[in-house]
């Protein structure tokens, strides 16, 4: 039960998250075609990572907590990638 980051660093992290929000809204106004989705998901993942690492204290957690936090992401990847692969590899939709 040790003390973690200072108030100032928490606020700095928040400012960084706001900055990324502005970037993601800005990037969406430019047409990159199919890349737009990937850019949006990439920026969202950075934001989610920052929230989990700093605000949710993953920084200070042990390996077991890291496994608990990351395995649903792996399951989500399986769920989405395999359903999409299945869908696109069918002759009759």
């Amino acid at each position: 039960m040790d003390n973690h980051a200072s108030y100032k660093s928490l606020i700095n992290i928040w400012l960084f998250l706001i900055f990324l929000t502005v970037v993601t809204v800005g990037a969406a106004q430019i047409d990159f075609g199919a890349l737009n989705v990937l850019i949006a998901i990439f920026i969202a993942s950075i934001k989610a990572g920052v929230v989990a690492y700093h605000f949710m204290h993953l920084k200070h957690e042990d390996g077991l907590t890291w496994i608990y936090a990351s395995y649903p992401i792996f399951l989500l990847f399986l769920l989405i990638s395999f359903t999409l692969t299945d869908m696109f590899s069918r002759v009759i939709n």
């Binding site: 920026i43 969202a44 769920l79 359903t83």
Partner: protein, 220 residues
């Protein structure tokens, strides 16, 4: 046990996890678990719960991926009809409420009870503003004759934001219970597990929105 019984038990297990753990009486009548073990165990339990929450939304994200790949045009048009300004404002509000919860956890670790109260109040107010904005968004859509059944995009939009909204309300209830217990003087720097894992739940609500916002509002 009815729906209210289950809900209150769920909120209780999040807000006061230590009371849900059956204590094993030793011969001397003391509790079996020491405070640090209990703190770590409660946190790990919360992370496991958050994993199941992520998979609950995972189904919706999978549906989004499939139908977006199938009907890109529908998603483009649907996405363009959503209010980016209101969505951005709600994003900023939720990220700010994540900050205030993080500060509340930090403050209770330093025994700054007054700061904890202020931060929890601010978080609950942010959640309420988020809900009001969402209410205006929904009623505006209904007014234009757009309902969950209008097309697949709006089905996913209403389902995803609706389930998220439910989490905002549960989060508000959890934070409210925590705030009441802070006023009763239940927490201190040696006993703040409930605030920390209640905070974890609130951060999850923020995490889900971080993905929902660009996927629904921006990718158009």
């Amino acid at each position: 046990m009815g729906i209210f019984g289950i809900t209150s038990k769920l909120i209780k297990s999040i807000a006061y996890p230590s009371e849900m753990v059956p204590s094993i009486e030793e011969d001397d009548g003391h509790h079996h678990f020491d405070a640090v073990t209990e703190h770590e165990g409660a946190k790990l339990g919360m992370w496991l719960f958050l994993a199941t929450e992520l998979l609950l939304f995972g189904g919706l994200f999978a549906a989004y991926a499939i139908y977006r790949a199938k009907y890109p045009e529908m998603f483009m048009q649907g996405s363009k009809s959503l209010d980016v300004v209101l969505g951005s404002v709600n994003t900023v509000i939720l990220i700010f409420s994540s900050l205030t919860v993080a500060i509340a956890v930090k403050a209770i670790q330093e025994n700054r009870i007054k700061l904890v109260k202020i931060m929890l109040w601010v978080t609950i107010i942010c959640a309420a503003i988020f809900a009001v904005n969402k209410y205006f968004e929904y009623t505006y859509k209904f007014g234009k004759g757009i309902f969950p059944g209008t097309d697949i995009f709006y089905s996913i939009y209403f389902a995803a934001t609706g389930v998220h909204m439910l989490h905002v309300f549960i989060g508000m209830a959890v934070l409210g219970v925590l705030l009441r217990k802070v006023y009763k003087g239940k927490y201190s720097k040696d006993n703040y597990t409930a605030i920390e894992i209640g905070g974890l739940y609130w951060h999850l609500v923020d995490l889900i929105w971080i993905y929902l916002f660009p996927l629904l509002y921006l990718v158009g």
